[in-house]
Each structure stands twice: as C-alpha cells, then as structure tokens.
C-alpha cells in the first residue's frame, strides 16, 4: 500500500485523476456505510467540488504544490462544524442544522487542499465510549473487524472509517478518551493533543475545559501530517495557546534511544484482560529494543479518582452547553404551544437521547447550590492535584504507558447489560490524561482473537512530538 506521502506526490504530479479518485472514494464510503454506519452525512458535492478545484489549479499550474494535504480525503467527526454541511454532533436536536461557518480545523484542512468527505458517526455529543449512545434516529457504527462488536467511542465512526478507507485521515475529538479508545478498538493510531494546541473554534461543545480535536489515521504518518495542519494559535478561541507551530513530522522515525518511559503500575493487573497486557508488553519491548529505557511508576491519584473527577467536571460543563438547544434558533422544533418553558421542555424531551438527558441531570445536580462545593468545586481541586502528580512524573520520564482499554472491543449484546456506571468505568485508562490536558496517543500493538489491542502513550504538555517519535518506533518494529 502507498503511504500518504506517495499518494500526495502522485496527486501533485498528475499521476492520479483526483476527480475520478474522489468520486470512487465517495462511492466506496457509501458502500462501507451500508454495513458499518461510519458516516452520518457524506458531503459528496463539497468533496467533488474540492477535487475539481484541485484539478483546475493543477492544470493552471497554480502554486498549490506546497499544500500539505493535496487531494487527501478527510472525514470530520460530526461535532465539528463544516459550513453548509449538516453538523449534528450525532443528535436529533440538531438534525438539519447547517453551520454558517467552518471550524478552525476545517479552514486549515481546506487551505491545505484536503477534501472533506463527510461527517462521522459518534455518541450523541460525545457521551459514551462505545458509540452506542447515538442520537434518536442515528445508526450505531460497527467494529471493522467484527460487525457484532463496538468500534468504541465517542469518535467511533472516525476510527472505523480510518481502518476501512485508504488515503484518508480522520478528524476526531476527545473529551475523556474519545480519540484513543475507538482508535484502539479499530486498530488505528489516534493522537489527542495537549488542551489548547488545536483550536476548538467550531467544535460543538461537550465540556469546554476538556474538549480537544485530534487526528486518527491508519499510520503514524497520517496522524502527524494532519496534526501539523490543524495545530496552532487561533484568535477565535480564547483557550488556544499562542505558541510557535511545531513540525510533528520531523519526529517520525527519530531514534528513541535513551528515552525514558514509565510503566504505570496501577494500569496493569486487576481488571485488565490478560491478552491485552501481553500485547501491550510486546509493544513496550519493541520500544526497549529500539533503545528506550523503561521503569515502573506508581500513579495512584489518576486511576483512583480519574473517573469521578472527570464525570463531575464533564457533566457540569455539558449541562450548561446543552442548554442552548431549545428549538428556538436552530435544529429540531416542535409544534408551538404553551409557554416558552413548556415548549423548550417538549423540544428537549423529544429530541435528546437518554444518555444526554442523564448527563444534563447529573451535571445540573453537581453544580446546584449546596452541592457545588462537594462536587463541582471539589473535582476542580482534585484535577489540580492530578496535574501535579503527572508533572512530577514527567520530570523523570519522557512518556508514560498503559493499555488504552482494559477490554477487547465488546459485543453489542454485552454492552446492553452494562449499567451506566460500568459503562463509565470503561474510560478508566483514558480519562486522566484528558482531565490533565495531556497529549496522548493510541498505538496499535497487536491482535487477540482477531481483534486489535492498543497501547496508550502519554507525554507532558506540548510534547506531542515525543509521542509521534515513540509511535513511529513501534510501527517500525512491526
């Protein structure tokens, strides 16, 4: 198979008919979608117009050869706004909503010649880890290796499509693990950057202090390339970091000799399937063979309090973010009757899914007077402590490692039996780096029972480069 750079080169040299290629790719998406439901919307017109534009520019010999994504198909998690393309965040309450503007990351993809092919399926607003909490009327995406199993979530469609479709990179989004966890279940790379590294402008919010847009791809090159395009300062997002852009691709194939990796003690053993451990240790060995040094480290706080802290903060913020959906300015409407209160209630009752309602109720409760101190404010304090504990670890280590998930992709029939709390516990490995705003990467390390296993690498703030370096070393070892 060509790698992404070979593909782009062929586009630039006119060795590929980009319009025909894009047409075929869209057809392939439609075919894949029949079985796997990875796309909520396929933006056929936008994709073909972009391809035609590239064709014209190539003919006119316009200066487009430095464009980083020329002709590359980019899928977009449904929660990221694409101008004039239905963007619902997987919710019925936003059905029919076509944003008036492009998200910052979409502007960047377009500027670099990327071709936007559609909006990928997800848990409604990102509320879940299996993409089964899709909005009312939406279809559940299925695991590319076994269609009776989950592809993970909430960026489930993005990860599944990355496994199935070549010459394509996906834009995903993570609040508590929604990039690395589905990437692990689908056997692809997923990079969630440092909070603030990629602008959230145009991202339909789940939890503002936790949301991060990142990249998912079949190879570490794919992931590094898209990260290069989307990272950087944006004046429209107050939390965007004003820093010089980094060239993440320069970390590809960079030797890892001498790098120090901490193996998180608490993330192995109890509760983790043995086959998963075995594969993750294989991945660690590969890094050791390349000259990385490993050592065990104990990180109690993140594993012990990560889930509780995360769900307090995330639901509190989410419950305010979801307030704006009331059938007044955009999205779903209902028959106009009664007072505004009755109308808003009807719109929200009929158009939010069960998990969205559960999180609105949880979050509203956690921030009510009398409970705020015990829940919301306490969680904010624990978060600060967790960041300190990680920071201490990163004085010693370049990266920390754990399994990405404690289980193999489960069957839908198994997921149905989970209680909401068991469902939330699936995020145990991934929530803590998210709460701390740390960059983290899923690296596929092997297969067990024909299902993929992922290794989670996390690094200090703004050290995405080290993750790409390490990810690239494991890929090379294959």
């Amino acid at each position: 198979m060509d790698n992404i750079y070979d593909f782009i080169k062929k586009v630039k040299n006119n060795e590929i008919d980009i319009v025909e290629h894009t047409y075929k790719l869209i057809e392939e998406c439609k075919e894949i979608n029949k079985e796997y439901n990875y796309l909520n919307a396929i933006s056929e017109d936008l994709a073909l117009n972009s391809a035609r534009e590239i064709e014209i520019q190539l003919k006119q010999k316009a200066k487009i050869k430095n464009k980083k994504l020329l002709g590359v198909a980019i899928s977009v998690k449904d929660s990221i706004c694409v101008k004039d393309v239905e963007s619902t965040a997987g919710s019925k309450i936003l059905q029919g909503y076509k944003p008036l503007f492009d998200a910052f990351v979409i502007q960047r993809v377009k500027e670099e010649g990327g071709i936007i092919i559609g909006k990928t399926s997800q848990d409604e607003f990102g509320f879940g880890g299996f993409s089964v909490n899709v909005g009312i009327g939406f279809k559940v995406p299925k695991n590319p290796f076994d269609n009776e199993r989950s592809c993970g979530g909430s960026s489930g469609g993005a990860a599944g499509l990355s496994q199935k479709l070549s010459n394509h990179i996906a834009l995903g989004e993570s609040t508590g693990g929604s990039i690395v966890e589905p990437a692990s279940f689908c056997g692809v790379f997923g990079l969630c950057p440092t909070y603030g590294r990629v602008s959230r402008y145009g991202l339909i919010d789940f939890a503002n202090s936790l949301d991060k847009i990142g990249s998912i791809g079949k190879t570490i090159e794919d992931v590094a390339l898209l990260m290069n395009v989307i990272s950087g300062y944006d004046k429209n997002d107050s939390t965007s970091l004003k820093l010089k852009n980094e060239n993440y691709e320069s970390y590809l194939k960079k030797p890892v000799k001498g790098m120090k990796i901490g193996i998180i003690k608490e993330a192995f053993g109890t509760g983790v399937e043995r086959e998963i451990e075995k594969n993750v240790y294989n991945g660690i060995e590969e890094l050791e063979e390349e000259g990385a040094k490993t050592e065990e480290i104990s990180l109690e706080l993140p594993i012990k309090y990560g889930i509780a802290t995360y769900y307090m903060i995330a639901t509190s913020e989410a419950s305010t973010n979801l307030a704006k959906f009331c059938g007044m300015r955009y999205g779903a409407t209902e028959k106009l009757e009664g007072s505004f209160n009755e109308y808003f209630t009807k719109v929200r009752s009929n158009n939010f899914g069960d998990e969205a309602k559960r999180r609105i109720i949880l979050g509203t409760f956690a921030r009510m007077a009398g409970y705020r101190d015990a829940f919301y404010l306490k969680a904010m304090k624990v978060r600060a402590l967790m960041i300190n504990e990680y920071k201490k670890a990163f004085k010693k280590f370049d990266a920390l490692v754990s399994p990405t998930t404690s289980i193999l992709p489960p069957k839908f029939s198994e997921i149905e039996k989970l209680t909401p709390l068991q469902h939330y516990m699936i995020d145990v490995m991934t929530v803590s780096p998210n709460v701390a705003g740390l960059p983290h990467l899923n690296v596929p390390v092997g297969f067990e029972k024909n299902l993929p296993v992922g290794m989670l690498l996390m690094a200090d703030h703004l050290q995405e480069g080290k993750l790409i370096q390490l990810g690239s070393a494991v890929e090379k070892g294959k």
Binding site: P99, I204, N208, D237, S238, F340
Partner: protein, 392 residues
C-alpha cells in the same frame, strides 16, 4: 447581618451599559437605535453551536475605571462564570457573568449630602437580547426577539442596603451617572441604565421585596415611592408583606407581583472555561489609574480650595462635567466667584427654562468670558447681561 434602624431600607442592583464600540465577547459593532433588528449579530452573540467568546479588553478597562472611581478593591484576576437559566432572551440559556470573585468589591460612593453608600460589588456581564411584546407585556400573543443587544457589555453595581429613602436612591443614581459621565464610559443618548431595587420598611419587620427592571434613573424614585406607599398601605389594611419579586410597570406607575420567593434562585454557577482567567496586573491597573480623569468630588474640593467659591456652588458646577470644564476655563480669565455665580445660577436657569442640556446649545466658554468681561468692567448691568444670555 446589618441591624436596620431607619424607616425605609433600600438596596440597589444597577445594570449599566458601557460605551464600547463592539460587544463584550464578539467583534460585532454595538447597534444604534436606528439599526434594523437583528442586523448586528454573529454566531457568537446568537449562541450558535461551535461559536466561542473572546473577551473585549476595552470593556474591561472601562469597568476597571468604574471600580477605581467607586473606591473598590480590584480583584487580581478576572474570572467569568456561567449563570444558567432558561429564558427566550438568552442566546445560550446561560449568561456569561461573574460570580465568586467580582472585578471590584467593598467600594463606596457619597451622596450629595455626604452620606456614604457602600458598594458590595461591581462585576461585568453580557446583556441578553431584547424581547419585544407587540401588544404590551401581558397581552401579547407572541414575542419578537432582537439580538442586536445580545452580548453588549454591562456592569452590575450592587449597593449595601444603605439608602434610607426613594430620594436618596434617586440621588445615588444621579451621583453614579455623574461618575459614568466623567469617566466617559456611558453613552447618555444610547446607553441604558436599569435597576432592581430591594425595598423593605420597618413596620413589616423589614420583609424584603425586590422590584425588577426599572429603566432609567428618573423612574427609580417613582417606583420606590409607589412601592413604599404600597407596603405601608397593605399593613395599614391589616395585610401582610411577603418576600417576593415584583415588576415595575412604568406606564401605569404601579408594581405587580411576579413570584413569591421562598428560596434564592439557583443559577448553578460554574466557571466559563471557554474564557481564560485574565490577570489584572499592577502595571495594567496603574496605567488605568493614570488615565483616570478628575472626578466630580475632586473638582468640588479644587473649586473650593483653589477658586474659593462656595461649596454649594462648587457641587452644582461639578455635578455636570461640561459645566465644570466650562467653569475652569472661564475662571482663568474672570473672577471665579463671579464666574461661578453666573454659570451655576444664570446659565443653569436658562438651560432649565429651555429644557436643554449644555451640550445641546451653542454657548461656549468664549461667549461667557466675553459677556462676563463686560459685567466685570461695568459696561453692562447684570440685567442686560441676563437678557443677552437668553437670546443666545
């Protein structure tokens, strides 16, 4: 808890627009009265999914000036919170406001009679959209929403319950507007100033009633006079005063009950993490202090000490920024006592007679100087000069 002694207890919560060019969290121009409805808005002030707020620094500087003028302690950090409630004028169903740590606290402002009124807090927030009830507040079958106002910067000023009469409340508002004028942060023609008032009387054991949405500072006294009388009358007729929220109907000149209040409303405040914490450095605060103009109360002191005019005259001159500035210019060339007498008595009288403000007429300091030179040199008598003044 304060122990109350006076017959009437009033505390005010004042919302004033501040005169920036653009809105508080987006780059939309602030609308003028003549603008078409919904012509000055964008995805951010419409609360569209994916839009994000970006703070207008100029608005912060204006609010800081006000905090300094009201002798507040300034918070070293500016933090915004989300105040959540559902209402059709709210584009996001939460308002970006401040909660735990207001920009300014523990300030004060003196009334004309020298009485000090405590300021509990001064904080910044965004204005909701405006609702238009085509057939009146209660009768309309539908409501129109105009987002031109949505996201305009507001400053909320909360006083201690130190005001002992509607008259004092009116004077407080007058003093506050004078401060806003001196600071040049309030547009007297376009800007809106609103107040909610907490009113209680001794006879009821100080049961607190809140009057919402009194627009314009002249309305405050009217609303309070009505409400105090209403409470006294209810008690006289053997009825009870309930802790409740009432609205002021300025057309009818009455207040009516909106809801009984058993508990405080719960707005579920959380920090708005779409915005970062803004550090208010000493350097920044000092820069703003340097830019602060002389305020009315400074002017009074100066006029009395330097120009040796009566305190009473000085207060009237200083109450209006333009009049004070004119006085200072005239006093350079004319005996200050004569200038003060003429400006505060004759000029103000002519203006009042014609129902005009100083900036609306074509009299400038040169006219006054020329005229008063003639008076000084006894070229014309006072009466001729007065007649002359009326003609201009």
């Amino acid at each position: 808890m304060k122990r109350f002694t006076s017959e009437i207890i009033i505390g005010l919560e004042i919302h004033t627009e501040i005169d920036t060019k653009t809105k508080l969290f987006c780059r939309c121009q602030k609308a003028k009265k003549e603008d078409l409805p919904n012509s000055k808005c964008c995805p951010t002030c419409l609360g569209h999914p994916g839009s994000k707020p970006v703070l207008n620094k100029k608005a912060v500087e204006f609010a800081l000036k006000l905090c300094l003028a009201l002798n507040c302690e300034i918070s070293p950090e500016l933090i915004f919170s989300r105040k959540s409630y559902f209402y059709p004028d709210m584009s996001k169903n939460y308002q970006i406001s401040q909660y735990e740590i207001p920009l300014g606290k523990n300030g004060k402002l003196n009334l004309r009679n020298g009485k000090e009124i405590g300021i509990i807090r001064v904080h910044m927030e965004e204005d909701p959209a405006s609702l238009i009830h085509p057939a009146g507040l209660k009768e309309s079958q539908y409501v129109l929403v105009d987002y031109n106002r949505s996201g305009n910067p507001l400053v909320e000023i909360v006083t201690e319950p130190d005001l002992a009469s509607p008259d004092e409340a009116r004077d407080f508002m007058k003093q506050l507007i004078t401060v806003l004028n001196y600071l040049e942060i309030f547009d007297i023609n376009e800007g809106i100033i609103k107040a909610d008032a907490n009113v209680s009387i001794k006879e009821s054991g100080y049961t607190r009633v809140e009057i919402k949405n009194i627009t314009g500072f002249k309305e405050i006294e009217r609303a309070l006079v009505y409400e105090v009388k209403r409470q006294q009358d209810e008690l006289k007729h053997g009825k009870n005063i309930y802790q409740e929220t009432r609205a002021w109907d300025s057309e009818k000149g009455t207040t009516f009950s909106l809801r009984k209040k058993e508990t405080e409303e719960d707005y579920g405040y959380i920090i708005d993490t779409d915005l970062t914490v803004v550090e208010i450095t000493d350097k920044w605060a000092n820069q703003i202090k340097k830019e602060m103009p002389e305020l009315a109360q400074d002017k009074v002191k100066k006029f009395v000490e330097k120009h040796k005019i009566k305190k009473e005259d000085a207060e009237i001159l200083a109450a209006e920024k333009e009049l004070a500035e004119m006085f200072e210019k005239v006093a350079k060339e004319i005996d200050p006592i004569l200038a003060a007498k003429w400006l505060r008595r004759e000029l103000v009288r002519v203006l009042n007679y014609n129902k005009k403000e100083l900036h609306e007429v074509e009299i400038d300091e040169k006219h006054m100087i020329d005229l008063l030179k003639l008076v000084e040199n006894k070229k014309i008598t006072d009466n001729v000069a007065i007649r002359q003044k009326r003609k201009t």
